[in-house]
């Protein structure tokens, strides 16, 4: 009888201990929620079955959503912004070319000339931009310098 009581007490004690441990675990979670804003995002992701860190798990689109929704009615700002990004790239090309010219000191053309596909030109003109003007000026100057050289060589 005594042995059985001891065993029962032991089981109960272990249950109580387990409950105390669960409380500690819950407190650790609560503590992290209070101290760390990101923790809630991470916990939310875990509750979706993902360990993705740093941002919320991408939420699914509605199943009935059309495959291609309509673009915003006024997208002119985005068109201008994107044209500016393209111009930024072209200016970087120009800067690289100038750096190469400066380094070589001989005006040798770049091994990778900056090309501008027709579609880009079309879009840039849509945004009322004139991104080629600087490049054209450099090209003209280069051509003039070359013909000057040739003339001097002949003369």
């Amino acid at each position: 009888m005594d042995g059985k009581a001891a065993k029962d007490t032991s089981l109960i004690e272990r249950w109580l201990e387990d409950q105390r441990e669960w409380q500690k675990t819950a407190m650790a979670y609560l503590d992290s929620m209070v101290k760390n804003d990101d923790f809630l995002v991470h916990l939310g992701n875990a509750m979706r079955g993902s360990l993705l860190a740093g941002k919320p798990y991408p939420t699914a689109t509605a199943p009935a959503a059309p495959p291609a929704q309509e673009a915003p009615a006024d997208d002119r700002l985005d068109r201008v912004l994107f044209a500016l990004h393209e111009m930024q790239g072209q200016l970087n090309d120009l800067r690289l070319t100038l750096d190469e010219l400066r380094t070589s000191g001989k005006g040798s053309p770049s091994t990778m000339p900056a090309t501008r596909p027709a579609s880009v030109k079309r879009r840039a003109s849509l945004a009322k931009a004139k991104p080629t003007s600087a490049k054209a000026t450099v090209a003209k100057a280069r051509t003039a310098a070359r013909s000057d050289k040739r003339r001097k060589a002949r003369g």
């Binding site: 065993k7 089981l11 272990r14 249950w15 387990d18 441990e21 669960w22 675990t25 650790a28 979670y29 992290s32 760390n36 923790f39 991470h42 916990l43 992701n45 875990a46 509750m47 979706r48 079955g49 993902s50 360990l51 993705l52 860190a53 740093g54 941002k55 798990y57 991408p58 939420t59 699914a60 689109t61 059309p66 495959p67 291609a68 929704q69 309509e70 673009a71 700002l77 985005d78 068109r79 912004l81 994107f82 990004h85 393209e86 930024q88 790239g89 970087n92 090309d93 690289l96 750096d99 190469e100 770049s110 091994t111 990778m112 090309t115 596909p117 027709a118 579609s119 880009v120 879009r123």
Partner: protein
């Protein structure tokens, strides 16, 4: 003690054990969620050497914090619809880091996360713009007129198109799980085709939400698009040691962090390379107003496919020999991501280093 009491006790013991194991999992999850790691960032120290729009060009540094100047340059081009750090995942599990440690000056493109205005970005913007200027920048920095290019997945497609248009600037080309034959059934292109990619408008594009892009990938991995399936997987995994779970978390941060995609780019990819179009095999692909001549790709090419690749089926990848006969084709055991960043990825890294180190004959 009666038999029923014994049974009750056994049941209580079993419940207690179940509770203890469950608590251990919940505690491990807490530990994993609160421990810092390489989540959303690369593993190797680097410096940003060029920025354009959302793009960052990263140059890996050595242990002393210095670039490996004077070494042959290698540019990694990851897919623009996912995060760049798959090629630089964890210390000791970094493809780019391995190549750098083997004696190369390694650069990695991080295309960043597109925003609303980037929906107008098309193939010329990526190939003739971002990739070309990145190569140009690497050439300027290193003084090497031709550099090595390693493209992964869609980044491989961009690299292949670039190499065909500017072959004199590419010393060697490595293409990882890069689809060439769009008519081979299966893979992401076909899933995207069935789920509406053909409906993307070129003229009036949208920024395709990350969740939608992710849903295409999920269609290829049964169970990953079910909440119950994902939760069950995670619960099972929580028996693993915390260190292993942190690795899993790093990978999950890559897999689940798909970025939105420019609708114009997707529309163009579909029109040119999608099922039935197959522009690379038919020789009809263009970048802007320039026709892509794959015959111009005369530099050494290594194309790697993965046996169990559900995203880019190996047959569609290996078909490169039909259009670039001198390409070396290598098929490795593993999946689309596993061969690049999984536990068996070392064989790919080593083969890549050997290929890049071989003197040109």
């Amino acid at each position: 003690m009666s038999t029923s009491e014994d049974e009750q006790e056994r049941e209580l013991e079993a419940l207690l054990e179940l509770s203890r194991r469950g608590r251990a999992k919940v505690e491990r999850l807490h530990e994993v969620l609160t421990t810092p790691g390489h989540f959303g960032t690369g593993a190797t120290p680097c410096q940003v050497v060029y920025r354009e729009n959302k793009l960052r060009l990263l140059r890996l540094l050595d242990d002393t914090g210095q670039p490996r100047a004077g070494r042959p340059a290698v540019l990694f081009v990851p897919a623009p619809v996912s995060r760049y750090f798959i090629v630089d995942l964890l210390p000791g599990r970094s493809f780019a880091g391995h190549v750098a440690a083997a004696g190369f000056d390694v650069f990695v493109i991080d295309f960043g996360t597109p925003t609303s205005e980037d929906r107008y970005a098309d193939l010329p913007y990526y190939v003739d713009g971002l990739v070309r200027r990145s190569v140009r920048m690497v050439s300027t920095i290193t003084g090497q007129p031709a550099i090595n290019v390693v493209g992964y997945c869609l980044g491989g497609t961009l690299s292949l198109l670039y190499a065909a248009l500017y072959p004199e600037t590419v010393a060697r080309l490595v293409l990882l799980t890069t689809m060439v034959d769009g008519d081979v059934q299966g893979g992401i292109a076909w899933v995207a085709h069935r789920m509406g990619l053909q409906g993307e408008s070129y003229e009036n594009p949208r920024l395709v939400p990350a969740a939608e892009v992710k849903s295409w990938f999920e269609m290829l991995a049964p169970g990953s698009n079910s909440l119950v399936g994902r939760l069950s997987d995670l619960w099972e995994r929580l028996d693993d040691p915390a260190a292993r779970l942190r690795d899993v978390r790093t990978m999950a941060t890559w897999v689940d962090d798909v970025v939105p995609a420019p609708g114009r780019l997707l529309a163009e990819l579909y029109r040119q390379f999608g099922p039935g179009r197959n522009g690379l095999m038919k020789g009809t692909s263009t970048v802007g107003n320039r026709v892509v001549e794959l015959a111009a790709v005369r530099m050494p090419v290594l194309s790697v496919s993965a046996e169990k690749d559900a995203i880019a089926p190996p047959q569609g990848v290996d078909a490169i020999v039909q259009v670039i006969p001198h390409a070396e084709v290598l098929r490795l055991p593993g999946g689309h991501v596993g061969i690049v960043a999984g536990r068996t990825a070392a064989s790919l890294w080593q083969r890549t280093v050997e290929f890049l180190s071989t003197p040109r004959g």
